[in-house]
């Protein structure tokens, strides 16, 4: 075992982690621990853009953006946080441009902007051009630009270090414990402040746009240390994933004029969202697609998908603005999007919930108090700027605004305190997990349990949910968690043991899926991405509040989930009926 000592440790090197690292490296001695090489992070898969009211191509202002964000989140957004994000959006985009990001440009040489779902002029009048973009590679450009600037600032990375535990001593952050994939060695990192920026958890669904590596590692280990997870029942299903594969096709395709059609060729979104049509918010579009499919208007021999139609757009426009997604259609479906519509279905995309933080990125241990020295930013966190449904582009914005804030706050905090002493046997828990899996003589397979988890989640906890389906999911997950205790791996070696890694990741997915299902079962209303057929309306009296889920451990070691609720911060917008 090795022990390292830093001022600040950042866990994860996607957009939020690297944005934080650029700030904290200039202020405190910082280490970035990442289970992937930084440029492999899933920020790179984001496509359509990053919204900010630059008003480069038409009138816009941050207050309209805030309103859209609050409405898009179905009034579960903390409005103070949304205001901060939308105000600071302008500088966040300009910061990236100054760091070198190659945005697409207007004829005047300014950053170009395009339409995106749910982003409107003057509180819903019409779609507005707010998304700053680089073709359909905006996330790739953000990830590359941030990595380039990490190189410039000499950020210290520990690549392929998998963080498995958070150390808290006397209520204060003491560090983290990591497993080095190359060698199998355990490393303890003592730190005054820790920033979690480890990304999402979409791999508990089968059809998902998420990478294999998005297994909720940060959320799960914080949760097991007794800290709450907020709003985990709110998961976004992006309307346009490639049918069956789930690969993302950007909403920017509809921003450029693409249209959703059913088997009759009908532009069905006109019936669901008369003003915004195909650019309604994602939850609205995804429900509409499944309604079409359920009512027999789906496409294909089994009627199980709809089309994203780009065939009316000039090929030059597709080549210039949507080169990657058109290539995906060619590569994975063998079709030509100039002339063929693309078969799509909603795909599990983004966790609105996560580790609760305040607007400085400080992690909450209950509704009001923070854990000194602990921070989170990006998809792993819940500020909450996305509420019950995130607007497209606001995730790239979130990672930049709150990644920067968390990086500065964590580094500044580290300047004011001494290191907290490490607890005795700091690596004890991690060693137990690793050795337990390596020595297991069980007969259960990681792949089989994961497959069954993904199947129950897709069947029972997706776009449409009921009390019955969610109870089924809870029961299925409980059974799988029981079987997981007898899981065994084949690779017993030390070097690059990805077999072991996948087993640990599955444990994280199981815990978080249970939180999602239990939180969703208790929320007897429909709001944003959480739709209950048995409670089809929003209930602001009972449920305009955030879910806070805690793991309770009984004396005999059995765990259960305790749910609590936290009020929503409302500043200027009272809840209204949500129409697009």
């Amino acid at each position: 075992m090795q022990i390292h000592k830093y001022d600040t440790v950042i866990v994860g090197a996607g957009g939020a982690g690297m944005r934080a690292a650029i700030e904290s490296t200039q202020r405190s001695r910082t280490a970035v621990l990442t289970k992937l090489y930084p440029t492999r992070s899933h920020t790179g898969a984001a496509q359509g853009g990053m919204c900010a009211a630059l008003a480069n191509v038409e009138e816009d202002n941050w207050e309209w953006h805030t309103f859209d964000t609050v409405k898009g989140g179905d009034y579960l957004v903390d409005q103070d946080a949304a205001e901060i994000m939308c105000k600071e959006a302008v500088d966040a985009v300009l910061d990236l441009e100054k760091m070198g990001l190659p945005f697409s440009r207007t004829e005047q040489g300014r950053i170009d902007q395009r339409r995106f779902g749910g982003h409107t002029r003057n509180h819903g009048e019409a779609a507005v051009r707010r998304s700053c973009y680089a073709a359909d590679r905006t996330g790739h450009m953000i990830l590359q630009t941030l990595f380039q600037n990490c190189v410039k600032h000499g950020v210290e990375f520990f690549n392929e270090f998998y963080v498995l535990d958070l150390l808290i001593n006397d209520g204060k952050t003491a560090g983290v414990v990591a497993y080095e994939l190359a060698t199998g060695e355990i490393h303890v990192f003592q730190a005054k402040s820790v920033v979690f920026a480890s990304g999402g958890t979409g791999k508990f669904f089968k059809v998902t746009s998420n990478a294999h590596t998005l297994t909720g590692d940060g959320q799960a280990l914080v949760y097991r240390r007794g800290l709450p997870l907020e709003d985990m029942e709110f998961f976004q299903f992006h309307p346009t994933g490639i049918w069956r594969m789930g690969i993302l096709l950007t909403e920017g395709a509809r921003g450029e004029g693409g249209i959703l059609r059913n088997k009759d060729g009908e532009r069905f979104m006109e019936r669901y969202a008369p003003v915004m049509k195909d650019l309604a918010s994602r939850d609205v579009c995804s429900r509409a697609i499944y309604t079409e499919i359920r009512e027999g208007r789906g496409c294909g021999p089994d009627g199980d998908h709809v089309y994203l139609d780009l065939t009316h757009l000039p090929p030059e426009q597709l080549d210039a603005k949507l080169p990657d997604i058109t290539e995906f259609a060619r590569t994975y479906l063998g079709i030509e999007p100039y002339t063929d519509p693309i078969p799509i279905q909603p795909t599990a995309h983004y966790a609105m919930g996560g580790i609760p933080t305040n607007v400085q990125g400080e992690v909450l241990r209950n509704n009001t108090d923070v854990v000194p020295g602990l921070y989170a930013a990006g998809e792993v966190a819940c500020v909450s700027v996305h509420g019950a449904n995130r607007l497209g582009t606001n995730s790239l914005l979130d990672i930049n605004v709150f990644g920067k804030r968390a990086g500065i706050a964590a580094a500044d905090y580290a300047q004011t305190v001494e290191h907290t002493e490490l607890p005795e046997n700091p690596a004890e828990k991690v060693v137990a997990i690793i050795e337990g899996l390596r020595d297991s003589e069980g007969t259960e397979s990681v792949a089989q349990i994961r497959k069954e988890l993904q199947e129950t989640m897709d069947t029972n906890a997706m776009v449409y949910r009921t009390g019955e389906t969610l109870k089924q999911a809870v029961a299925d997950i409980a059974g799988l968690r029981e079987r997981y205790k007898h899981v065994a791996i084949q690779d017993k070696g030390q070097r690059y043991n990805t077999d072991l890694l996948e087993a640990v990741e599955l444990g994280n997915l199981l815990d978080l899926a249970e939180v999602l299902a239990v939180s969703a079962l208790a929320r007897e209303e429909s709001r944003g991405g959480h739709y209950r057929e048995d409670f089809p309306t929003r209930d602001d009296v009972k449920f305009m509040q955030h879910t806070m889920a805690y793991q309770e451990v009984a004396a005999d070691g059995t765990t259960s989930i305790r749910l609590d609720y936290k009020p929503v911060v409302t500043t200027r917008y009272q809840p209204m009926e949500r129409k697009y």
């Binding site: 100054k98 440009r105 040489g109 190189v151 294999h212 060729g265 070097r495």
Partner: protein, 257 residues
Amino acid sequence: MSTPTVEKHSAALDAAEVGGVKLITVTLRIRRFNPEELPDPVWVDYQLEMDPKERVLDALNKVKWEQDGTLTYRRSCAHGICGSDAMRINGRNRLACKTLIKDVNPEQPITIEAIKGLTVLKDLIVDMDPFFQAYKDVMPFLITSGNEPTRERLQTAEDRERFDDTTKCILCAACTSSCPVFWNDGQYFGPAAIVNAHRFIFDSRDEGAEQRLEILNDREGVWRCRTTFNCSEACPRGIEVTKAIQEVKRALVTRRF
């Protein structure tokens, strides 16, 4: 405005929408290496049933999940964006997640081995540190002088287009590890580092071109390129890598960029 209907389907769309799949038996012939077990690499065959429209990565996953959990490789996004899974498939560098089974002659065993020129650590995993070091050595970040503008720097669409091709790089190392010069001389910067230098040399906002060109004028720099075009053929992002290298060479001679 076109209105797709079931009657107007192209054959390609019909093929894409086929519900039931016809599985074929494929053999993956994988070059395995684990120094914890054996000092030398060995070729191992795995037979499995696959939908030919699935990815080579799907086949590797199927082996790992159902037959042999010790098989080790890197992967993440699974759709050609993260650059984790460059490997030699039937002797050619490709991303396993962007290569469909049907396109690699599945009637014969599909050979899979680690990319060349970087030390193999286990199975398909190579040591990427030298690759990233070469990248870092070309100063891959925007260099400017003077006060920062309050708003964005202006750049015409044409100036932006000038370096568009090289912004697509995902640092997968498919190009560098396909280069015969790099195989023989690990000190050579390699195509990927030059691509990333190109991305800044030809960015109208950047002022660091002279410094980068001097770095690439080195004995192990751009002049080592023998224009074999392996790199361009290997690039999963379709970057014209050899052309970019030629443009850097020309900029070194003319000092115009």
